[in-house]
Subunit: 169 residues, 4 copies
Amino acid sequence: MRLQIPVTLRWADLDAYGHVNNVEALRLLEEARIAAFWRHGPGSTPTAVIESGPGAATHTFVAATEVEYLAPLGYHREPVIVELWIGHLGGASIDVCYRVLAPAEPRTPGAALTGSPVAPADLVAHVHARTTMVMVDAGTGRPRRLTDGERAAWLPYVEDPVVFRRRRR
Amino acid sequence: MRLQIPVTLRWADLDAYGHVNNVEALRLLEEARIAAFWRHGPGSTPTAVIESGPGAATHTFVAATEVEYLAPLGYHREPVIVELWIGHLGGASIDVCYRVLAPAEPRTPGAALTGSPVAPADLVAHVHARTTMVMVDAGTGRPRRLTDGERAAWLPYVEDPVVFRRRRR
Amino acid sequence: MRLQIPVTLRWADLDAYGHVNNVEALRLLEEARIAAFWRHGPGSTPTAVIESGPGAATHTFVAATEVEYLAPLGYHREPVIVELWIGHLGGASIDVCYRVLAPAEPRTPGAALTGSPVAPADLVAHVHARTTMVMVDAGTGRPRRLTDGERAAWLPYVEDPVVFRRRRR
Amino acid sequence: MRLQIPVTLRWADLDAYGHVNNVEALRLLEEARIAAFWRHGPGSTPTAVIESGPGAATHTFVAATEVEYLAPLGYHREPVIVELWIGHLGGASIDVCYRVLAPAEPRTPGAALTGSPVAPADLVAHVHARTTMVMVDAGTGRPRRLTDGERAAWLPYVEDPVVFRRRRR
């Protein structure tokens, strides 16, 4: 099962080329990950069950990231969709996989600003990525193993890892 | 009349003090301004009528900003509300005024992560600001006067300018 | 007396207009302020004497900022110069004043990338700004008065506050 | 042969955990890459010979990035060193490899602020990374092959690609 997390672009995500900067694109993944994995409060439906962030008992750290840019991502008023799932459930780490879905780049500049809704079927993948997340005990500062509760909660989101187009060297 | 623009925080807006960085707070104003003033497309309801951004006939530039930080702004899943109106309609510039509304800082760390909805009445102003925007002709690169159409469209949003608490020196 | 702090631009400071984004320009001021005011270590010459930052006994918070953009700031390999002085020494706050000095915008696009040194006399002010800084006791979280030591250390840097070109409304 | 590019941290590179944010760490690589590969002006010694950036005849785009975080990177006044070389010289792309070198994390918080110089021998790798860069013809917007001149200029910088510690899945 995959989560579909809408993430709103900011105009300043664009660099001088007029596209979302390749580094800022990873910020979109971070936002989607926080929306998906940090515990929601009592008044909301949790999508996953880790309480993280500063002050929590567990910190989640990014140990590694692999990202592939398939197409330049222009500015859109409508949120992009970050599709997110778990590609690997390890002993003390998980691999989170992502696809950033957005309308295909418009042919006429400025069209992206119109904010007209785009049918989901017209969204194409602009970015493929995978981050390896390590659970760290906030008290000791050392990695800790996943709990049974975490495994049970995350199992439904495990699918085959994202397939990158470029052959690894 | 004032616009109420929801703007979603990003976790990385926080600095090492654990609050939205004072510089990043201005990014929230920029996002609200773009949502309010850039022309919406044919399929949407325009809130104001300037077509701006790179590629447009008019560029809007920030000529000056004044901002006052009333209370530290913590991280919240729920969007903050940027209240936005026009404090002055000049010959070739406008003053846009802002109040950033968010829940009062929680007493217990971590509570802000719960995402529980907050009643609008419980929102308090964390930031007051005003930006002076200049209309620039994209062709000549020089400021140009407001058009009659712009004046007519913006008039309903003109109110008294934001009142800063600190006396100017 | 004014300090002259070199601050290196980052390419991503540019926005889609190809100039340093107006919000990012304040980041340059933050960097200069930290270089000037945070205590240097035993092996270096202090320029000012406040120990700040997370973990220190005093936190310095920005209470207000006023900034005026005089000319678009393009990308330059050479650091810009942030000229910095104290415009007002208050009871529990100080006003820090800034001028961001950089070469005048080149007439031919791309010339800014050449990295050719520019004579200091050819630098022009692109930004004028003033930030009001409040000293906060890290233990109590409340503002505290400047100490005699701080006053003595900062007195040489007090000059008339920066003069903004636009009349205040 | 490897280049050693000093890159100055910004305080706002830190996130609420008090370390350089994992996304911002890639910004340091971008800065080093621009310093190394974009053409220097007539008054300076070129380190490599591509004229890039908006307005140039060739745009360089990041097609893929792989990054591994070996140790948390704290704030340091002294620039970090980004070691940079070419791990693969392809037909229309190159792989740039990086190691981010900085002092080992201090045991006592605040020590990183002292700015005391650190002997190069005491620098340790905090980040390993590799980016695949594609040369794009600015006119056609399509990838183009490396020129003989580019190959000749870059050959001295080719070494074995960076070795990641984690096994690929």
